[in-house]
């Protein structure tokens, strides 16, 4: 009973929050609603018994990605009425594409319903995990054993995106003062302090 209640609460709030992301006029409110949606999705994961995924969803998306997102949205002064200007103009085309995609999905659904049996191919597809394995461990097994190739490939892609960002955006500016901690630490009194005996009335030359 409680689980069902919780499900309806999370699911309902997720849909509501998702709707508000699109509808709300203030972009900061949109992002905050997006975060609410993430939370409810995490709640649904917990109900499914995938607590690891739920926590990762919160840590990665809410704790890191959405923070930076919020950061940017707050700093930018986005004028929404300006953004919406093209809306009317592109609505027919966008609507058409949307309808086509919807039609295709319905078609797929319709043709799939007739033969639900053909979905399972033995020895392929989903990887089976023993029942008694905790879901964090199961996740690790799938990710690092069965799909290690994909995991590493994704790593290479991230490396390339990092190289790309540096190649295209990083500029070394001349004349920028940088603090070099090692140099500061390596400084000794012997090389940086000079004791000068000042004679009265004469001063010193620096």
């Amino acid at each position: 009973m409680i689980a069902a209640l919780a499900f309806y609460m999370f699911a309902g709030l997720a849909i509501f929050a998702g709707l508000m992301v699109v509808v709300s006029r203030n972009p900061v409110h949109s992002v905050l609603f997006l975060i609410l949606a993430f939370f409810n999705a995490a709640g649904l994961f917990v109900l499914l018994g995938a607590e690891f995924l739920a926590m990762i969803l919160i840590i990665v998306y809410v704790g890191a990605v959405a923070v930076l997102f919020l950061f940017v949205v707050m700093m930018l002064d986005i004028d929404f009425s300006e953004l919406r200007q093209g809306f009317q103009q592109y609505l027919p085309l966008g609507g058409l594409v949307g309808m086509i995609v919807l039609g295709e999905l319905l078609l797929v659904l319709a043709s799939g319903l007739g033969r639900p049996e053909m979905v399972r191919i033995p020895g392929s597809g989903a990887v089976r995990i023993a029942q008694d394995v905790e879901n964090t461990a199961a996740m690790g097994q799938v990710l690092f054993t069965d799909y290690i190739y994909l995991f590493q490939a994704a790593g290479m892609i991230l490396l390339v995106s990092m190289i790309g960002a540096i190649v295209l955006a990083h500029r070394t500016r001349p004349g920028v003062k940088k603090q070099i901690i090692a140099d500061q630490v390596a400084r000794t009194p012997a090389e940086s302090i000079e004791l000068i005996k000042v004679e009265t009335g004469k001063g010193v030359k620096m």
């Binding site: 009973m1 409680i2 203030n26 900061v28 409110h29 905050l32 975060i35 607590e51 690891f52 926590m55 990762i56 919160i58 840590i59 809410v62 704790g63 890191a64 923070v67 930076l68 919020l70 950061f71 707050m74 700093m75 905790e134 964090t136 603090q179 901690i181």
Partner: protein
């Protein structure tokens, strides 16, 4: 729920409500002492700080000034709540609530003794990590909703700072949990049983240091209190807050500090366990509190002695020092765990 007193009091309720009441009682059992402790910790903090500066600190309200925090709280409660013109009202008031409630809910998974834990979550470490990474929202919302430059600058600083230090905290946690082989906090404590020698502070010393320092940065404590650097930003994101809204921020901040103390004790100092077998007669919860008090002293000590970091130095420390070390530590401790047959 099997408690005799509880049965006697609430047996007349339906089953479902009974469990609900029981949970509420448990939560209260953690929260009330916690908030009380926070009140005294603020006093403790000020006293340590004063002592290190050869001052007396609060000594007027109550014996030795012990009731100072309550007086302050009461004063805040009776102040008028001000809302700046142009503030985003809803978010302005949600922000302190978010900070405060996030600071409280993290305590659900802290184990106080063998089997004494409100929610023995399998992913306890991740839960704590998730909650602490959310703390930034309260600050960010407060800074933005105040519609003030100082507040906003403070919020931005804080967001960048917390995201930066979370990365190394995350890696430290990964290194520890690989060593333990579980994400459950009770398991982490149990893995350190056998006296002071098997505490992780020795085997994981570099990680302990990184964690402690990052914890200070994560909770915006000096020397990393740039978000509220009073000399530059007046009080950062708190500038526009008054009355109990300010009080909630204040409570949330100290609760978070206490949480970090608890986490340090659990991860590196054996949690509820006694350092030597002959001290086992002291109950577990008490041990945890003693250790938390010890770390709180370190937090206060650092606050009193270390000058504030400059922002670029703070970022450098996080990204160029802690991140590589903790990343390397994950590999090193993972490899060692594998070599020693721990996994």
């Amino acid at each position: 729920m099997d408690n005799a007193v509880f049965q006697w009091l609430f047996a007349w309720l339906p089953e479902l409500l009974q469990s609900l009441v029981w949970i509420v009682i448990l939560i209260m059992a953690i929260l009330l002492p916690l908030l009380l402790a926070v009140a005294f910790l603020v006093y403790f903090d000020r006293k340590i700080w004063a002592a290190m500066q050869l001052r007396r600190g609060p000594n007027v309200v109550g014996p030795f000034g012990l009731l100072q925090s309550f007086a302050d709280g009461l004063k805040l409660l009776f102040k008028e709540t001000l809302v700046p013109a142009g503030a985003n009202k809803g978010i302005f008031f949600i922000a302190p609530v978010v900070t405060f409630s996030l600071a409280l809910i993290a305590w659900a998974v802290i184990p106080w003794g063998e089997g004494i834990v409100l929610a023995n979550l399998n992913v306890g470490i991740l839960y704590i990590f998730a909650i602490s990474s959310l703390g930034v929202y309260g600050i960010l919302m407060a800074g933005w909703a105040s519609n003030s430059r100082y507040a906003f600058l403070g919020a931005l600083r804080s967001a960048a700072q917390m995201v930066s230090y979370e990365v190394s905290i995350g890696f430290v946690l990964v290194a520890v949990l690989v060593w333990v082989g579980s994400l459950n906090l009770s398991e982490v404590v149990l893995a350190q049983s056998g006296g002071v020698g098997s505490w992780f502070v020795f085997s994981h010393f570099p990680l302990f240091m990184i964690f402690l320092i990052s914890a200070m940065a994560e909770t915006n404590r000096p020397p990393f209190d740039l978000p509220e650097a009073e000399a530059e930003l007046v009080a950062g994101y708190q500038v526009e807050y008054s009355s109990m809204a300010f009080g909630l921020f204040w409570l949330g901040e100290y609760t978070n500090i206490l949480l970090m103390c608890a986490m340090t004790s659990i991860l590196f100092f054996g949690g509820w366990q006694a350092p030597f077998a002959f001290l086992d007669f002291i109950p577990g919860p008490l041990w945890l509190m003693i250790k938390m008090a010890f770390f709180f002293f370190i937090f206060a000590w650092v606050k009193a002695t270390v000058p504030r970091y400059r922002y670029d130095q703070l970022m450098r420390l996080g990204w160029k020092v802690f991140l590589p070390i903790s990343l390397f530590a994950v590999v090193a401790y993972g490899g060692a765990a594998l070599a020693l047959g721990r996994v």
